[in-house]
């Protein structure tokens, strides 16, 4: 080849190579980056729905009340009325969805002391006892019913 293009040919080849690279990048990016990436920010919008789709484990006290109104009424006059059922009874959404699913027994003594053991640093308004002095470490339940722990109640 003669004329002005004589020395430019290799540049054209280089430009073509560059264009091909750019094209490859554009196609690969369109292929690999999900459609919803960058919809709200530098992340995949679908990740939000993924997290939200996780199944629940705790039913919430509204569900418990649907069937166990008696227990809720029992606790109503006592300070324990503010405590959710699942605080002591554990996560029970499976039981709420299917009442056949057994509810595990709770260890009352351990549960009582988690909130009412003295000298752990609890705020002064929290009623606490030293189990050894209070009941010689006997069970709390004969005197205090868990749902309504007031002493003047019928056992």
């Amino acid at each position: 080849m003669r004329g002005p293009l004589k020395d430019v040919e290799h540049l054209i080849r280089l430009a073509a190579l560059f264009a091909a690279g750019l094209l490859f990048f554009a196609v690969a990016r369109a292929e690999f980056v999900p459609d919803d990436f960058g919809k709200y920010g530098h992340y995949r919008a679908g990740a939000i729905t993924d997290v939200a789709a996780k199944p629940m484990v705790y039913a919430g006290r509204v569900r418990c009340t649907e069937c166990h109104e008696d227990e809720v009424n029992e606790a109503a006059p006592s300070k324990h009325k503010v405590i959710a059922c699942e605080t002591c009874h554990g996560a029970l959404l499976k039981h709420a969805d299917d009442p056949e699913v057994a509810v595990p027994k709770v260890d009352a003594q351990t549960l009582c002391l988690r909130c009412h053991a003295a000298n752990t640093g609890k705020p002064s308004h929290q009623p606490t006892v030293v189990a050894k002095d209070h009941s010689d470490e006997d069970s709390c339940v004969p005197c205090h019913k868990a749902h309504d722990p007031r002493m003047d109640q019928e056992p």
């Binding site: 459609d35 919008a45 990740a47 997290v51 199944p55 988690r114 909130c115 003295a118 752990t120 640093g121």
Partner: protein, 253 residues
């Protein structure tokens, strides 16, 4: 007419570019349809948490509930939320004694008698920062703050580089050895979006933890924030933390 190799290449390249441009334009048009969100509108919420130190009794119910609800690993013992016990001895108030046996999951042992200095519990969790350092360091866009104010992780995108674990000033992240991806509190986003409160809030027997929707004008949190001595952790780091503590001692770090 005879086609030279150069002409063929030029025409071919032009065609390829045109198709790919059209294809990506079409993709944008198709993707424009909003995703189906049942009754939860992201724009209507801005989530935060209120923690009342004066109410916390360190029973560890929140820690257990969080582990159960979110399948948080027991071995090694990782936490999305945990409770710390601070003991400030009046003879050396600058150096509080802090313990958190197993994150407080089984409550705390009897250790400090009444009148022996000041003892209190500090529940900790992800602060769901407005300007979160952890989301800024992620090299792959796997962690982000949603428009309703919750910092989440995209498990599909996370490459497990641990940058975010180091970036969090509150120590709220860990690497889940099962999936080799970062993990943290989601503020029980799967519950919030269904109108439920987070598991830790549900089981707290004293109401020391409260979820707050700051975009809801009727949320009692607004009055609570106005009328109480509210602090956040490490305000000097300007993270825009959204876990608001009432009655927090200055010794808490």
């Amino acid at each position: 007419m005879e086609t030279t190799r150069r002409e063929f290449l030029m025409v071919g390249t032009k065609l390829l570019v045109m198709t790919s441009v059209t294809a990506s334009a079409l993709e944008h048009i198709v993707a424009g349809a909003p995703e189906a969100a049942a009754s939860y509108n992201v724009a209507d919420h801005w989530w935060a948490m209120l923690i009342d130190i004066e109410k916390c009794i360190g029973g560890g119910h929140c820690v257990r509930a969080c582990k159960t609800e979110n399948d948080v690993l027991d071995e090694p013992m990782y936490f999305r939320t945990w409770v710390e016990r601070y003991h400030i001895n009046m003879s050396d108030p600058e150096h509080p004694i802090v313990d958190s046996p197993d994150g407080g999951i089984n409550g705390f042992s009897e250790k400090y008698a009444d009148g022996d200095g000041k003892t209190f519990f500090v529940p900790k969790l992800c602060n769901h920062c407005t300007d979160s350092p952890c989301t800024q360091v992620c090299p792959v866009g796997a962690t982000f703050r949603t428009n309703d104010g919750v910092v989440l992780i995209d498990k599909d995108y996370c490459v497990g580089c641990r940058y975010c674990v180091q970036a969090c000033p509150y120590g709220c992240r860990y690497l889940d050895p099962r999936s080799h991806t970062a993990d943290k509190c989601t503020l029980c986003y799967h519950r919030l979006t269904k109108g439920m409160v987070p598991a830790c809030v549900e089981v707290c027997p004293t109401g020391a933890r409260q979820i707050a929707d700051l975009k809801n004008p009727k949320d009692p949190a607004h009055e609570y924030l106005r009328t109480h001595k509210i602090q956040i952790l490490k305000p000097q780091m300007a993270t825009g933390a959204k876990v608001y503590y009432n009655g927090l001692d200055g010794a808490v770090r």
